[in-house]
């Protein structure tokens, strides 16, 4: 598309908020877009977001300002963020909220659309994309799974190969540029708060083809989720806020930490109240998460020996509960079949969000905002391949600020669309790439023909469960190097066992879910390898990455800047570790390098959570 007047043809993989916003921006610029999604885009994981969407709208003159939002975001991510991208996002946030309002999201002007914000926002974008689809500017390929990019040897991305999940047909598609907006990798952890479609397979595939995966070790865990055999469902933090008490049935033993006797066997032991007499059940999220994990895993005192503790609101009058927590408690009842107003809820921390993802570039201007329309914005290290949404690494650093995920997805999409158009204007024509497309299509057909013949004795779903248990055990709340080393060995062993998989289903010409899953499982193993390797090497505590053996000491003063010895240690830690982890695929496993973070917007500040 060397001539700017010629309309391009672009591809977007994923139909959540980031993907659909990218589509809208491309279509609005008069381009044609092919959207690939493994489910109808309206069923994408963005529908699950229950929180709100941040934005300094300042509706009531409360003095809110985007700079405050920038600071909160950078602090929450412990400064391991792309600062220009973050500033751009926070400054764009009020405009994004107004845009969604114009699209018909029933906001009640507090930037919040009931308990189903994600659903409301996704539908608003879905409707706009449907309008472009009706106008012929967008072609949806729903129930098509992205398999891999088509790339000149070491050169730019020329298109992609995808598979029709209703017929298992494998086909290549040319594109002037491709955007991956394929979401997070929750299913690598087996059960999480993520949808079952969130395997991370698309991101892993391009990582395999040379894209850099950054900050993979940063995984956010939500402290309270409803354990389920099929998934872990988010339970709002508001339950603790409204007076919920956390306990496990006592074993009647001695508590070494507080040097007190636990209550008689079977009676409630309120461990947070024992250990944190001041904050009790209102300890910060991370602390609550770690202690619940500790009680179940290390003390083995989880309910019935399992990974669960009670979150109890039965002491609060039902009337009060209905006024404050009705929706949340109804959700519990719907999936657990018991009324939490009269029976304590069972909860456990759950993998929730990946801060890490595909490394992307951002070009900053003199105000440290992304240059509008720069082809560098959201570009991976592969020319012509872009990434946006949970599958990019830029916006959340070491820990995501609540209510920033929806915003980051929409914002990333807003700058990715124009970036792709700019890129294509200057890129060489895709003409002549037919041979390349054919070659890659053939390669993927052969790959699946190979999987189709796998008649070993490993069940792919059983293997996936083993991987999930391994990752949840070692790569969520607390991390220890000896355990991570063992986990890495296990991942390599699982990769070996993958070779001996049984595909379970040899049907052709119709939907064959195990066939697709076997390929996805390999990609999940690749990502698990990246995450675990990154975690093993990073000897520090930062945000969601918690290594008790490598924590800073407790500062002697409440304000750590008043403790020069501590400050020196803090600075030393930052000099060593305030760097993005960058993983590059090699046949032997991920090659990890580090890129120092730049601070054009805000210098790092010390923090200490006591």
């Amino acid at each position: 598309m060397a001539d700017a007047a010629v309309k391009g043809r672009f591809a977007v993989v994923g139909g959540g908020l980031a993907g659909l916003m990218t589509v809208i921006k491309l279509a609005e610029a008069g381009q044609h877009v092919d959207v690939f999604s493994i489910v109808p885009v309206k069923r994408s994981h963005s529908v699950c977001a229950q929180g709100g969407i941040n934005g300094a709208v300042n509706t009531k003159g409360e003095g809110d300002h985007p700079d405050i939002h920038v600071r909160d975001t950078l602090r929450s991510g412990d400064f391991l963020l792309e600062q220009v991208a973050v500033k751009g996002m926070c400054y764009a946030a009020p405009g994004i909220i107004y845009l969604l309002d114009r699209m018909g999201v029933p906001f009640n002007r507090t930037a919040f659309a009931g308990a189903t914000t994600g659903q409301q926002l996704l539908y608003a974008l879905d409707e706009q994309v449907r309008r472009y689809e009706a106008e012929g500017k967008v072609t949806k390929h729903e129930f098509w799974e992205f398999l891999g990019i088509v790339r000149d040897e070491g050169g730019p991305c020329r298109g992609l190969v995808a598979m029709n999940l209703h017929t298992m047909e494998v086909k290549s598609f040319a594109a002037d540029a491709v955007c991956l907006a394929s979401g997070g990798p929750g299913i690598v952890f087996g059960r999480s708060t993520n949808s079952t479609i969130n395997t991370g397979t698309a991101a892993a595939s391009v990582y395999r083809d040379g894209a850099i995966y950054a900050n993979g070790e940063f995984i956010q865990v939500h402290p309270t989720a409803i354990p389920g055999e099929d998934k872990l469902r988010l339970m709002s933090e508001s339950v603790r806020g409204e007076g919920g008490r956390v306990w496990v049935p006592s074993d009647g033993g001695m508590d070494e930490r507080s040097k007190t006797q636990r209550p008689p066997k079977g009676e409630p032991w309120y461990f947070l109240e024992t250990w944190y007499p001041k904050y009790k059940n209102l300890v910060p999220r991370d602390v609550g998460t770690r202690e619940i994990f500790h009680v179940c895993r290390d003390l083995k005192l989880g309910i019935d020996g399992k990974d669960a503790v009670y979150l109890d609101v039965t002491h609060i009058p039902a009337k009060t509960l209905d006024a404050k927590l009705k929706g949340v408690l109804e959700l519990y009842e719907k999936f657990q079949g018991v009324d939490p107003r009269y029976q304590p809820m069972k909860i456990f921390p759950a993998m929730h969000y990946s801060m890490g993802g595909l490394w992307v570039d951002i070009e900053g201007d003199s105000n440290n905002l992304p240059v509008p329309g720069s082809p560098r914005n959201q570009s991976t290290n592969i020319p012509g391949l872009y990434a946006a949404g949970e599958c990019d690494y830029a916006y959340h650093g070491a820990n995501r600020l609540g209510a920033n995920s929806l915003l980051s997805c929409i914002y990333a999409g807003m700058i990715t669309g124009p970036a792709m158009v700019s890129y294509a204007k200057n890129a060489a024509s895709t003409e002549g790439s037919t041979a390349l497309l054919d070659r890659e299509e053939k390669r993927w057909k052969e790959r699946f023909a190979g999987i189709q013949k796998m008649q070993g004795n490993e069940n792919p779903y059983g293997l996936a469960r083993e991987l999930g248990d391994l990752m949840t055990e070692n790569m969520t709340v607390v991390r220890y190097n000896d355990r991570l080393t063992k986990a890495l060995e296990r991942i390599k062993e699982l990769k070996q066992r993958w070779q001996n998989i049984n595909v379970l289903d040899t049907a052709v010409g119709t939907t064959n879910q195990p066939l697709s899953f076997v390929n996805q499982l390999w990609n999940m193993l690749e990502l698990a390898h990246v995450m675990t390797q990154g975690a093993l090497l990073r000897d520090e505590c930062r945000g969601a990455h918690y290594k008790p053996d490598h924590n800073l000491p407790v500062p002697s003063h409440r304000d750590p800047t008043q403790d020069p010895v501590w400050m020196a240690k803090w600075k030393e830690r930052n000099d060593k570790w305030l760097k993005f982890t960058k993983a590059t695929w090699t046949a032997e496993g991920p090659k990890i390098t580090y890129e120092p973070v730049k601070f054009p917007v805000l210098e790092p500040e010390p923090r200490w959570y006591a």
Binding site: V47, C48, G95, R102, R130, R233, N459, Y461
Partner: protein
């Protein structure tokens, strides 16, 4: 807690592909507390063996969020059309019988193709026409009451329960079904959406339109989001009549409503 060791769940699944005769398969699964239909199907994936000990393939079904907001896992569970994720084993009679939706083309096992619902959303222009995504400030103000009403209607996840339950949706009819009618009502209420109200309403006047509703009222009973579908249908019936009269008297004046 009751001793549940050795307890089994019997799952009876209608299986097969398009154009082939369906077959039934039964699975005996170990009981665990708090299971739902999805976790049973996942158990079958890990051990695809029938109750008689015969090897089989994992059951094909659609799933995604498992929180009843995506609409994917709609199927018949013990004869009732619903999402499988909220179908708790402890609340179901055994054997638990699973069947695919019948008003949509069968793909395989419990997977059907609900593409037609999304096509119908296109037909009725189910969107708010906006002037680009540039920074143009907030949209028009709406009352809290109007927002509240639209909010409930906007929670439709296009799961298809209402379409499945509707006797008027069958191989001999082109009826768009309750969900689509509700979407037209929702967009026609919105201050900007109103600009295309006439077009949307007209799209419900021809073949497959609102007049094909037979007042069975099944839809409102099966809607997992408790959307007031029958009242949306009643509103659209009135609106189509009004639109027809308006169009009759403005023949030759051209269409002032414009298009998106």
């Amino acid at each position: 807690m009751a001793d549940t060791s050795g307890k089994q769940i019997i799952l009876r699944v209608k299986r097969g592909g398009a154009g082939k005769e369906a077959r039934w398969e039964e699975f005996a699964l170990p009981y665990k507390p708090n299971m739902n239909v999805i976790s049973c199907l996942m158990e079958v994936q890990r051990n695809p063996v029938t109750r008689d000990g015969a090897k089989t393939t994992p059951v094909a079904w659609e799933q995604s969020c498992l929180e009843e907001v995506c609409g994917s896992c709609t199927m018949y569970v013990n004869g009732k059309i619903r999402q499988a994720c909220t179908a708790l084993i402890d609340k179901l009679e055994q054997p638990v019988v699973l069947e695919p939706m019948s008003k949509f083309p069968l793909v395989r096992d419990l997977v059907v193709d609900r593409h037609s619902m999304f096509e119908n959303l296109k037909r009725v222009k189910a969107w708010i026409p906006i002037d680009g995504t540039y920074d143009l400030g907030p949209g028009p103000r709406e009352s809290q009451a109007a927002q509240q009403a639209e909010y409930v209607m906007s929670t439709c996840m296009t799961c298809g329960c209402c379409v499945e339950s509707c006797p008027q949706v069958n191989s001999a009819s082109a009826f768009v079904g309750p969900a689509i009618l509700n979407q037209v009502r929702r967009f026609n209420m919105h201050p900007t959406g109103k600009l295309n109200a006439a077009e949307r309403t007209r799209a419900l006047m021809g073949k497959g339109g609102v007049q094909e509703c037979g007042k069975a009222q099944n839809c409102v009973k099966v809607c997992p989001k408790e959307i007031p579908l029958t009242s949306s249908i009643a509103v659209m019936e009135r609106e189509t009549v009004k639109q027809a009269i308006k169009d009759f008297f403005s023949r030759g004046d051209g269409d002032a409503t414009g298009s998106a």
